[in-house]
């Protein structure tokens, strides 16, 4: 009997449970925590497309996360001060509408991913890990030394962006938007995984030559997966900036890339709800340890090490058993 369906349902409802519990027990901060979980889970779901399905271990996804964050920050700043971003060839103004911000984030991240991916995918294995890291470092240093939008100081997001029909200024309203985005992200992941594209992508991970032999170009499939993956992560970045009311270069640091990978492995690589489980667990650990001891990073390290050594397959693997397929 496969336990993954009930486990997935529980995991899908977990952030909602935490948020509703927070309201019931009048602990408003837990709504913020649940929102953070949902956003990080969405970012990791994006990475999971490349990493879990395609076997593309990108150590530079923080760059896309940061691009999303800056898209939100820059557009909202320009909207507030009513300055156009571009006056030529067409005039483009700022906006504080979430769908518009997401569109910009997705397009910019997609274009960057297309360019860097086309080069990175010429390599594989460790080379791929390292070249994605190199591109992210480039963008990180650019953000630090680019004075127009705050440089290392980062960029305040003056007002939280709005979503039609939802009051995003309230914690629950904003949580609803983030959770909705997460569900859409997970659905996209599920649809892609079950599609012919997903099958080809997983085949490319397992045996590239066989795929080429049946007339499918693995390079293209992987590139599309990489770009889609960057796009999802960028939307999460835009939400993250709205949550913190702040975008900063540290969203693009290599530690952030590492954390996204950690979320996936913690939850279970390639599993549909792995990133959700990973994000819930990671945010909770960070919250509880950080509140309990100054040396929380030491214990975080020990916990992560324990998970790799003794809990293969991550949280979902522990709860639901081995996956049915690769």
């Amino acid at each position: 009997m496969n336990r993954s369906i009930p486990v997935n349902v529980v995991l899908a409802l977990l952030p909602v449970g935490i948020a509703l519990g927070a309201v019931a027990f009048d602990e408003p901060f837990f709504v913020t925590l649940a929102t953070r979980m949902a956003i990080l889970a969405l970012a990791a779901t994006g990475l999971n497309l490349a990493l879990g399905l395609g076997g593309l271990v990108s150590f530079g996804h923080a760059a896309f996360f940061g691009i999303g964050g800056y898209a939100a920050g820059i557009l909202a700043t320009h909207a507030l001060y009513m300055q156009p971003i571009l006056t030529w060839p067409v005039e483009i103004g700022g906006t504080d509408s979430m769908p518009a911000i997401w569109l910009v984030a997705v397009v910019v991240a997609g274009l960057v991913a297309l360019g860097t991916g086309a080069i990175s995918l010429r390599t594989s294995g460790v080379y791929f890990i390292m070249i994605t890291l190199a591109f992210a470092q480039m963008i990180y240093y650019f953000a630090i030394s680019w004075p127009a939008y705050g440089g290392e100081d980062g960029l305040s997001v003056p007002t939280r962006a709005v979503f039609p029909g939802v009051n995003t200024a309230t914690p629950m309203g904003f949580f609803a938007v983030c959770y909705g985005a997460l569900l859409v992200g997970v659905t996209i992941f599920a649809i892609l995984r079950a599609s012919r594209f997903g099958a080809a992508l997983q085949a490319a991970r397992q045996n590239e030559t066989r795929l080429a032999a049946v007339g499918i170009a693995p390079f293209r499939i992987k590139l599309v997966a990489f770009v889609l993956s960057a796009m999802l992560t960028a939307v999460a970045g835009a939400l993250f900036a709205d949550l913190n009311r702040f975008a900063s270069p540290s969203m693009m640091s290599w530690q952030m890339s590492g954390e996204l990978i950690v979320l996936i492995i913690l939850g279970g690589t390639g599993r549909l709800f792995g990133p959700v489980a990973g994000a819930v667990l990671f945010v909770l650990i960070e919250h509880l340890l950080g509140g309990a001891t100054e040396r929380w990073q030491l214990f975080l390290g020990l916990i992560l090490l324990g998970v790799v050594l003794f809990a293969r397959g991550g949280m979902v693997g522990l709860l639901a058993g081995k996956p049915r397929h690769g």
Binding site: T123, I131, I265, V308
Partner: protein, 306 residues
Amino acid sequence: MSSALLIEQLLNGLQFGVMLFLMAAGLTLIFGVMGLINLAHGSFYMIGAFACAAVAAWTGSFWLGLVASLAAAAAAGAIVEILVVRRLYERDHLDQVLATFALILIFSEGTRWLFGSFPLYLDIPPVLSGAIPLPGGAQYPLYRLAIIAAGILVAIGLYLLISWTRIGMRIRAGESDREMIGALGVDIGSLYTLVFALGAALAGLAGAMVGALQSVQVGMGEPVLILAFVVIVIGGIGSIKGALVGAVLVGLVDTLGRLLLPKLFAIAMGPSEGATVGAAVASMLIYIVMALILALRPQGLFPANT
């Protein structure tokens, strides 16, 4: 710009490169023989620096500190290999990344627990203080020349070790065919521990030598680690020769880029603006070089026989 300045900068680039080589040699060896990505390699660098600073402060001798740094880093390497890393050889790169990422957190906070939150003091030994004249009238610090010399000695030593000794033969065998050497009756377990400890010791040595030039503090290893990865990827993972060439290349490109780019941009954009933009591009330069090299040669400059 005077020729003396240029010569001095070339030496600086070389010294930086040699230091990167000490880090990269261990990383590339560990990857080449065991197939392991070790993000915690920067921690051995930090351990070496802290051990050297502590022992030098206690005994008053930099040289004892240097010995201690080798011993401490090698011991830490061996312990980590036996307790943790040994279980990761058969895993995919993803698990290795997470486990060694966790090791960074543990080592960083552990070191801070042991040595406190403030940076430690470590100075160069008196024998190597002072500067010697360069052609063109400039002065160059003796200690930096000593680092270059030490790096070259280590490179030669590694070459001899790998090409001419029994251990080296086993290492080479391990790089080309892992199952084979097991079948030949070589004790793979202790060979791996040895290689890992050797790599850690080299990183510790680099940390100690550089610690005297820089600040001995928690987190000092990670920036160097990222650069060392750039080096081995440019050079071709698993290749010691590639690590050497890559390290010198990165050292020179970074140093000369920092010197020349702001001047170049200043000509085009005026001094203040040009200095800022030039510095920004200089900080991205090695990553740009790496991307270019990998775009042209996806396996690096000297692809190892994997």
